[in-house]
């Protein structure tokens, strides 16, 4: 049982070359902040990238940042904030939900799990902001893809292929991301007291307007009290975030007020208070109870997801709240059974999408597919890709199975 801790891409390469030759599997680890997601691994050795750190290029005027893959996300976000910039895709922190320390996670892990947050709706996920990578495949070959410029169609986009691959195709050593100016002002308009279907209709109306809403979430009654320390009360809250230059935010909030004045009682939440709400929604804080009951993260068409939840409730006791205009559902099962087949059947019935069992006990994770199973042709294609990049199955074997 050895844990390798390379601090350079060359050391990372030599570790993987050795493991490939020996055909010995490695668990690929950054800070381990998302270690509890996916099928539990039983590898003899661990490749710990938390010492492969450092910002190698940051040019704010060019909107570009390159770092070693093990660089802490928190450090990078601090650096960006000092320059008035941010990752627009708002990567979530799984720490609170998975019962580990908050503020952990490396930038390589951000890409490998394709993190995003409430702004996903408008700004995309990590996959939409990655410009280039350097990585080592399971064959022990160091390669690069992409570059440092936004517009680039030179060759296949292997950087995107790394997104959501959970360390099963290649080990990232360097990543280059697009960064963007942080908004000067943010205000959240809350509609209170709506049931799910009315909330979904209100969010669709808001997103279909020119108010450029950057995030839209719905916290049903009881759940609403679980964000921002409960200071906004327990009435259901349908939340619309507007960001940008001050005068523009004022104008757009006013436009939303006019659009939604009959939807329900309206409240405005500005500045830090608004940020606190969206941070808690991003990190699924309402379900961060320190327990181990199953939690699902489900992505569906925004108009469909609440119908699925309603149907699910007829057969299983669940708590739910919605982000992404209703299209992202966080589900907390009240019993120990994840009800995977039931849930996935309903997802298919209501227009399709995917569900990931992001929190569950190790036995459940070993017995059930944590990630949405794919139809046969697509599963075969994914397996071919895995075999091309990691023919000896040495990188996180079975994690996405």
């Amino acid at each position: 049982m050895t844990t390798f801790t390379p601090s350079t891409p060359a050391e990372t390469l030599s570790t993987i070359q050795w493991a490939a030759a020996e055909e010995t599997p490695l668990e690929i680890l950054g800070h381990g902040s998302k270690r509890g997601i996916g099928r539990p691994l039983q590898t003899e050795h661990t490749l710990d990238l938390s010492r492969l750190t450092g910002v190698t290029l940051y040019e704010p005027a060019e909107l570009v940042l390159s770092t070693r893959a093990g660089t802490p996300l928190a450090e990078i976000e601090k650096l960006l904030a000092e320059n008035g910039q941010q990752f627009a895709f708002e990567p979530m922190d799984y720490g609170p939900l998975l019962g580990s320390e908050p503020g952990k996670g490396t930038i390589g892990g951000v890409l490998a799990s394709n993190l995003s947050g409430p702004r996903r709706l408008k700004a995309g996920a990590a996959r939409d902001h990655i410009l280039g990578v350097a990585a080592v495949s399971g064959r022990g070959e160091a390669f690069k893809s992409g570059g440092r410029v936004v517009k680039n169609v030179t060759g296949y986009d292997l950087s995107k292929l790394m997104a959501n691959s959970w360390g099963t195709l290649a080990v990232l050593t360097d990543v280059t991301f697009k960064v963007l100016p942080a908004a000067e002002t943010e205000v959240t308009l809350a509609i209170r007291g709506l049931l799910d279907d009315a909330a979904v209709a209100a969010m669709a109306l808001a997103l279909g307007s020119s108010a450029e809403v950057s995030s839209a979430a719905h916290l049903p009654e009881r759940i609403a009290a679980k964000v921002a320390g409960g200071k906004h009360g327990s009435d259901a809250a349908t939340l619309l975030r507007v960001e940008g230059f001050g005068p523009s935010v004022v104008y757009r909030i006013e436009a939303l007020r006019k659009l939604l004045d009959k939807a329900g009682p309206l409240e405005e939440i500005a500045g830090e208070a608004s940020k606190a709400i969206w941070r808690d929604i991003r990190d699924c804080v309402p379900f961060a109870d320190g327990g181990a009951r199953p939690i699902w993260r489900v992505s569906m068409a925004p108009s469909q997801a609440h119908h699925m939840v309603m149907a699910l409730r007829m057969q299983a006791a669940v708590d739910a709240f919605y982000d992404w205009q209703g299209g992202l559902v966080w589900l907390s099962m009240r019993e120990d059974d994840p009800e995977a087949d039931l849930l996935r059947g309903l997802i298919r019935k209501y227009g399709g999408g995917h569900g990931t069992l992001v929190r569950a006990s190790a036995p459940h994770r070993a017995a059930l597919p944590v990630f949405e199973p794919q139809p046969p042709h697509l599963a075969a294609l994914s397996a071919h890709l895995k075999a091309e990049f990691d023919p000896k199955q040495i990188l996180n074997p079975g994690r996405m199975a």
């Binding site: 936004v150 450029e212 992505s299 399709g352 949405e372």
Partner: protein
Amino acid sequence: MSGLAMPKPDAETMRRRAEIVADMRIIVPGEGVVDAANEMRAFESDGLTAYRQLPLVVVLPETVAQVSRVLKYCNERNIRVVPRGSGTSLSGGALPLEDAVLLVMSRFNRILAIDYPNRIVVAQPGVTNLGITTAVEQEGFYYAPDPSSQIACSIGGNVAENSGGVHCLKYGLTANNVLGIEMVLMNGEVVRLGGSHLDQEGYDLLGVMTGSEGLLGVVTEVTVRILKKPETARALLIGFPTSEEGGQCVADIIGAGIIPGGMEMMDRPAIHAAEDFVHAGYPLDVEALLIVELDGPSVEVDHLIGLVEAIAYRNGSSTCRISQSEQERLSFWAGRKAAFPAVGRISPDYYCMDGTIPRKELPRVLAGMRDLSEKYGLGVANVFHAGDGNLHPLILYDANVPGELDKAESFGADILRLCVEVGGVLTGEHGVGVEKRDLMPEMFNQIDLDQQMRVKCAFDPNHLLNPGKVFPQLRRCAELGRMHVHRGQVAFPDIPRF
């Protein structure tokens, strides 16, 4: 055409042409199979007109089942297939091969669903880019990526090329605006990637397919995100005595936290050609002309116009006009949008390049281009998507002068090498195709290219789909698949461990 090696035609396929044509007519009945040379002439080239080749046969399927059967048939008989949308590729992505079926998707021209609450449109791949906007604009929506060929180019082709346009700094490329596709693999299997939800489960095959230039699969359906049109748009037309000042102005605008809807720059030759052509009122005594368009609520646009005007002034702008009406805004754009045909008026032929550079390197690259222009004795005019560093040098030449096309291509290759040297890339939005295929090693070493080929091998192990494009040399998948090291041959890594 100048020394471009394409895969050697397969003698067996050529010999069986009549039989293949007859079988295609069974799979695609009616008028969907074209085999007469004079009728196939329309398909012999795409937007890169320097290269021409008649295909084996042209097939225009109408249904997904037909696409699947054609591909399966060809896969089983080792027949090459070249997919084609509207044929507007500027890099030869749809250039036919003598021994390949040209699979033309233009009859897939229907919009299948418009869904305003979820803000998506589901379209067949032959629908034009502009056709999507046309379908939803009455309700105030539009599809954001707007390549300059948008009136003709197909959405399926946009997926294949990951098309951009002038608005992609703010609104993203095709890859950021497509939610799902249905595609047919070379073996005839139909798979769906993504859908009307966000993010694909498993590997991001949708991301890999976008920009794969027709080598991985044939797209048969596309789901795109539509956006509500911004309330207003206004533009500034700013002239600078030097390109350095123009470039610094661009950097300062972005440094101030402003992401304009569009930000375009033209150099002196492009300005003069455009002004002579459309009389847009461009200043003729400047070295660089910048168009900055801001869109959004009028209160925001007015606020930002003021900020940009001040930044321009600080950077030594010699002229600055702000559009006061929609008509004036469009007149600012008229010259830029007509830049290519305008250059076509001052030169018998022009060759359009497409490198991307880090913005700050613009003065260096423009200076390098002036030197190259002297070296080759050919003129060059530049239009530049300034916000994202995507450069379109137009090399002026005369195809009727022997050797000038070769010279223009060498000049273009040198420009792209320069782009790579300063930290940029070979192609920002036009694709590699056949045009930049042999330049790929300027940017990637063999190991890098091998990984890209491994993706190809996972999708199309027999290399039958659009061969001769993107990769300078396709290595056999079996050869790529071998592992060369074995147990005990690599020493235990000498690095920190515990």
